[in-house]
């Protein structure tokens, strides 16, 4: 089947919904007191309940419920005053009980919404805001892991992960492009880390996305969807969706039908393919778990949890824009993580009147440097206080922007505070008007012909004079002042 690349298919509408499994950051499992630490030796954290010995019973972890409540509050969702755990029955080696305890009819979190800033993945389209509705979020337990054993023909089962609490977050099929899906996933990822319910470590499987994709003619009925399972990187998500969409469109246009299927993404080939279909569709035979009683969440508990929530990203963004005058784009970058926002606010604390300057530096130089070294904001060798110290000297004119870049480079590589570095490297800019005027006079005198050309209308030559002046001052002339003086004197 021909694969079309970079196809814009305006006669097709893409419909995407996401189911995201987030591992909650509790110390223990959802139904037993076994540890959830990642990376331990196989089955050393598989207690009696985790391996489903005869006679064991589940008891619910308060920390898991609290995190679910936090999430619900953060997306403005209904928190069920009463929710029920149900058994999802099927056989698999990593599912020791032969059923997963989940929630079916009555989940703990109901309808909510997440406002996202969609970053188009290609082209020059501007970012735009979109509200994605969340259908529900429910608590359930994670399964164990299958690993390929030493011998061929044999699979090894590690149940350390079995019983880790998951919050499964289900969105409405509101997304219409891979870009929207990825932006939603990134925003959700950022949020769960922000409110401290999940460490978001996708390599370790803390945040796993299943993407439901279908296509339809605009205005037509919903197409049959296929579910791409277990995507653990945003890049793979985009690739998988793009391929799947092309495949579905191609199939239909060639006269074929889309059958409901679970699909895996092959990262090496960049393709999706349906998992081997089983003879019968899975019948999970959901029923309320008789070993557990209905979970009750009181108003008081909700409010106690609400009081522990930090200012949420959206509220912070709005405050940055409204009160600090930042652009929505910059506000978005600074609230991508709590660490970034904390860094910004810590720096701002030192220089409260220079919010924009601070924001520019963080979203510009600092971000660039962090990216170059693959560091997160909280790993920056330059502290908010150090940065603020330097920004103060820009604001008060002690150094120029060029000078500041040098200060920053040294601060990053070697440490130290701005004032010491400025002193040591002689980076103070010259703002003495007398000195600048003298400099400009000299240049005008030495370049009479160019001056005449400029005065004759060749405005472009202005830069030539700026260059000369900068060279003569060894880069130390205060650029703004220099501009003013040059303009005045060149005007004649």
């Amino acid at each position: 089947m021909p694969q079309k690349t970079n196809v814009r298919a305006p006669e097709w509408e893409i419909v995407i919904g996401l189911e995201v499994h987030t591992q909650l950051s509790t110390n223990t499992k959802i139904f037993s007191g076994a540890s959830t630490t990642y990376g331990s030796e196989p089955n050393t954290q598989a207690d009696a309940v985790s391996i489903a010995l005869p006679g064991v019973l589940p008891v619910l972890n308060k920390g898991a419920v609290e995190r679910a409540i936090k999430f619900g509050l953060a997306v403005g969702a209904h928190i069920a005053p009463r929710s029920v755990f149900a058994r999802k029955n099927y056989f698999y080696p990593d599912l020791p009980k032969g059923y997963q305890i989940s929630q079916f009819d009555l989940p703990v979190v109901g309808q909510g919404a997440l406002t996202i800033m969609v970053e188009p993945l290609s082209g020059n389209a501007k970012p735009y805001e979109k509200v994605v509705r969340i259908t529900r979020a429910h608590l359930e337990e994670d399964a164990g892991k299958s690993v390929h054993g030493e011998s061929r023909g044999v699979t090894g089962v590690d149940l350390n992960r079995a019983g880790t609490p998951l919050l499964e977050i289900v969105s409405e099929p509101d997304m219409r492009s891979a870009a929207e899906a990825v932006s939603y996933a990134k925003t959700l990822h950022s949020l769960v880390r922000w409110i401290g319910i999940c460490d978001g470590n996708m390599q370790e499987g803390s945040f796993r996305c299943d993407v439901n994709v279908s296509v339809r003619r605009p205005g037509g009925p919903l197409g049959t969807r296929r579910e791409i399972k277990n995507l653990n990187s945003f890049k793979f998500m985009q690739q998988a969706i793009d391929y799947e969409v092309q495949w579905q469109i191609g199939t239909i246009e060639d006269g074929g039908k889309i059958h409901q299927a679970t699909v895996l993404f092959d990262a090496d080939k960049g393709t999706t393919h349906a998992m081997r279909s089983k003879e019968e569709a899975q019948d999970y035979r959901y029923f309320p778990d008789p070993d557990l009683l209905p979970l009750e969440i009181s108003e008081e508990w909700k409010e106690r949890v609400r009081a522990t929530l930090p200012e949420l990203p959206e509220a912070k963004r709005n405050r940055y824009v409204k009160d600090l005058g930042l652009s929505p784009y910059d506000a978005g970058i600074l609230t991508a993580s709590r660490e970034a926002a904390n860094f910004f606010e810590a720096a701002l604390h030192e220089i409260p009147d220079s919010a924009k300057l601070c924001a520019n530096w963080l979203t510009g130089e600092v971000s660039a440097q962090l990216n170059r070294e693959s560091l997160e904001m909280q790993q920056s060798p330059v502290t908010p206080q150090q940065l603020a110290g330097m920004l103060k000297r820009i604001a008060d004119g002690t150094i120029s922007n060029a000078g500041a870049k040098e200060v920053f480079r040294i601060m990053w590589a070697e440490g130290g505070d701005a004032d010491s570095i400025i002193e040591a490297k002689g980076l103070k800019q010259v703002s003495d008007s007398g000195a600048i005027e003298a400099l400009v006079d000299e240049i005008i005198a030495a370049n009479a012909d160019k001056v005449a050309e400029y005065r004759g209308g060749k405005d472009k030559l202005f830069g030539f004079f700026v260059g000369l002046a900068m060279k003569a001052s060894k880069g130390k002339a205060n650029p703004a002042q220099l501009n003013d003086v040059l303009k005045k004197k060149l005007a004649g």
């Binding site: 007191g33 598989a46 308060k62 019968e280 035979r285």
Partner: protein
């Protein structure tokens, strides 16, 4: 009620119970009899009645998020089943026939 062999086969597969055709036929007869017994209750009008899951009207108790279980791998894996004379554990993992995704 009339059960077909196909129904029994499907249920046996869902429940991972291996059955020969003879066993399926015999199960079909017995299960049909049991379903006749159950049929009595289906005719009852239960409109407006709330299902009863538990005897007492109590709600789920919560456990503090504190580690209480220690590593008992050696003890638990001493229970591992044998296959062809050897225990089905290796390098701390439980062994099953290879699962192909």
């Amino acid at each position: 009620m009339i059960l077909a062999n196909a129904d029994v086969r499907k249920v046996a597969r869902l429940a991972r119970l291996g059955m020969t055709e003879t066993e399926i036929e015999s199960a079909r007869e017995q299960l049909s009899g049991i379903f006749d017994l159950i049929a009595e209750m289906q005719a009852v009008d239960t409109n407006g009645i709330t299902p009863m899951s538990h005897a007492q009207d109590v709600t789920q108790r919560l456990r503090e998020d504190v580690v209480t279980e220690t590593d008992q791998r050696e003890l638990f894996q001493s229970l591992a089943p044998q296959h062809k004379g050897s225990p089905q554990v290796e390098a701390g993992l439980y062994l099953v026939p290879q699962v192909i995704e």
